[in-house]
């Protein structure tokens, strides 16, 4: 691991919010204060799951100025590799865990005259912190939040009761959808857009804003991919002179870490580029899942993002 020291924490609260989402709150084990952070930051949570160490990023959704408590909200993914299931099934109040210092890959552009936030589902979490930050600075913001229905509307009640005029809720089950074109049409000059949610929503907002001529610099999005399970494969590492096996339910990055090979990372979700690794040789097929590498780089067979991408074939040799 590269970067700052980790922070030892104790789970101080586990709060089920609805059928799918639970909030986890942490206090520092040493009794000191947490670092403040900027709205949109995430922390990487270490999970000791039956011999595997999982490192999953979650948006910090507590008040960025609250140095007593960090909070994350985790949506249970029954199809995933098990990180969210571990959180939901195994983590209890009083447990010792380890989290990273905050890292922000989705920060507010503080030049904005207005912050227009578009959230889908669990994508609401970074906005919870950003709204608290902006409220303190008397910032101008507006939230449009689409979720399946009221029962799964994580933090809907809290948001609408504290900010009845700035929060707009859309329930898919009611066939109530964000009227994006109209919404964009009415925005003042200097508005910045932030979107966090499923890939389809992000593509939709990016596509529509581009079509309407919005500057790229004014449209911000955060999309961390969860690493997907896949067939096991073998990798040769030329610098550390090792051959390692990547299991079905672990990522290449996790396998490198398990073997003590230092690979830097920030997002662990194919977005930040930090873990980019050079390919020295291969015979087989890459399963590129990230949205960091350009299409021609993916096709060239010279780079791989080990946090989310996999390989199928005979041999893969990496510059690690």
């Amino acid at each position: 691991m590269s970067g700052a020291e980790k922070i030892n924490v104790t789970v101080s609260a586990v709060v089920p919010l609805n059928e799918l989402v639970t909030r986890f709150e942490f206090k520092r084990t040493d009794g000191a204060l947490f670092p403040t952070f900027s709205g949109g930051a995430h922390t990487v949570v270490e999970m000791k799951d039956d011999g595997l160490t999982r490192l999953n990023p979650y948006s910090l959704m507590s008040d960025p100025q609250d140095q007593q408590t960090y909070a994350i909200s985790v949506r249970r993914d029954d199809e995933g590799r098990g990180g969210s299931l571990f959180m939901h099934n195994n983590v209890k109040v009083g447990d010792a865990m380890v989290v990273s210092n905050p890292v922000n890959l989705f920060s507010l552009d503080l030049r904005a005259k207005k912050h227009l936030m578009i959230a889908g589902g669990i994508g609401i979490t970074p906005f919870m912190a950003q709204i608290k930050q902006l409220d303190r600075a008397h910032g101008n913001w507006e939230l449009h939040y689409a979720t399946r229905n009221a029962a799964l509307g994580t933090y809907v009640d809290e948001l609408t009761s504290t900010h009845p005029n700035d929060v707009h809720i859309y329930y898919d089950d009611d066939k109530n959808f964000i009227d994006l074109e109209n919404l964009l049409d009415g925005q003042p000059l200097g508005t910045h857009i932030y979107v966090c949610g499923p890939k389809g929503m992000i593509d939709w907002v990016r596509g529509k804003t581009a079509e309407l001529g919005w500057p790229l610099e004014s449209v911000h999005y955060e999309e961390f991919l969860a690493p997907q399970p896949g067939k096991p494969f073998e990798v040769k590492l030329s610098i550390s002179n090792k051959t390692i096996q990547v299991g079905e339910n672990e990522s290449l990055l996790e396998a490198l870490e398990r073997e003590g090979v230092d690979a830097p990372y920030l997002c662990r979700g194919g977005a930040c580029g930090q873990c980019e690794t050079s390919v020295i040789g291969y015979d087989g097929k890459f399963l590129h899942m990230d949205h960091w590498l350009e299409d021609d780089e993916k096709a060239s067979g010279t780079k791989i993002m080990p946090c989310v991408s996999r390989f199928e074939g005979k041999t893969l040799v990496l510059d690690r």
Binding site: P35, T36, F37, G40, A41, N101, P102, S107, L110, A137
Partner: protein, 354 residues
Amino acid sequence: MTIQFKDETFRDDYTFSNSDWAIKRFPFPFHEDSYMYAVNMEQHRGGPDGSVYEKRFDVDEHYVSEMRDRAMVLADDPLRCQSLPHMTLAGWDLLELIMVSKSEDYPDLFELHRDGDQWHWINKPLGIDDKFTFLDETSLPYGPMEYITRQTQGDFCVLDQRDDNLWMDAGIVTTQADWSLDFDIGMNFFEWHAPVPLAHEKGIFVRALKFLLNIQQGAPARRLNWTMTVNPLLDTSPENYHKWGIQKTSLTPENIGQKQHLRVELQTFFRLPRSNALVFPIRAYLASFDDLMTVPKWGRRLHRVIRDLPEELATYKGFIDNRPMMLDYLSRYDDGKPTSDGIWPNLDTDPPRD
């Protein structure tokens, strides 16, 4: 140790001088007998006792006089300190970082007492005792960045991070190696580095930017940079070139040892938590050639580096015309013996001078 603050000047009569303590801890910037650009970053997490690396914000014997010089520069030219409107939060971040660091690292000199947002700051060397409300600009005599950097040695660039780039959107710059905040304000990383020779071709700035964008909270970094300055001038700015540029012609073989200074910048980088901006403190240390020659290893090495430096770099750093005279002086301190790796003086282990 207790620091004895000096009463000295960096202009006119130039009474600046280094004590033996300051010479031995001088951040000599050459770790080998040659020099070429490199990103050369390392973590800024302490260093040997008493070295300039030990504390997050080094305070030394020149502190009080440097702060007086800064106030004079600002009185003459207020545009040396600028902060675009969206950078105020980063200014508070910086104020918090410095106050917390200094009060923890130098408890005998600085005190910070916090009760919620009611803060009480005591700076004993400068005789400052202020109570204010954190995040309330009206409770301080200056903006937060200017307030704290009038009390902290070194220049400060506060860089906004957006669009995969860094932007020079705030700073206070009064002790600079011939660049101007007023000119660079609002520029991005590649724009403000455009005048630097050779480094672009080597891809240095692309790699440096990638590194800086990824600097994390709790993991500050540092590097050294250097140039040459005739007379112990802190303010070698383009704005005042007409005053100091001509002084470069005043060197003679007789006065070069006292007048010619190696100017070293300790550059550090901290992620600011509330704003996600990056602060880039640039702390200048000055040592005369005579000071440096008291360390045999540094005498040998400085001669070899200056002798072999590419012409473009000697030109860019502004001493190409004086290089022959420098080499005449420096060659007397190079007996051809080997030098140890690294920047430290190693007085006990490197050979004495012939």
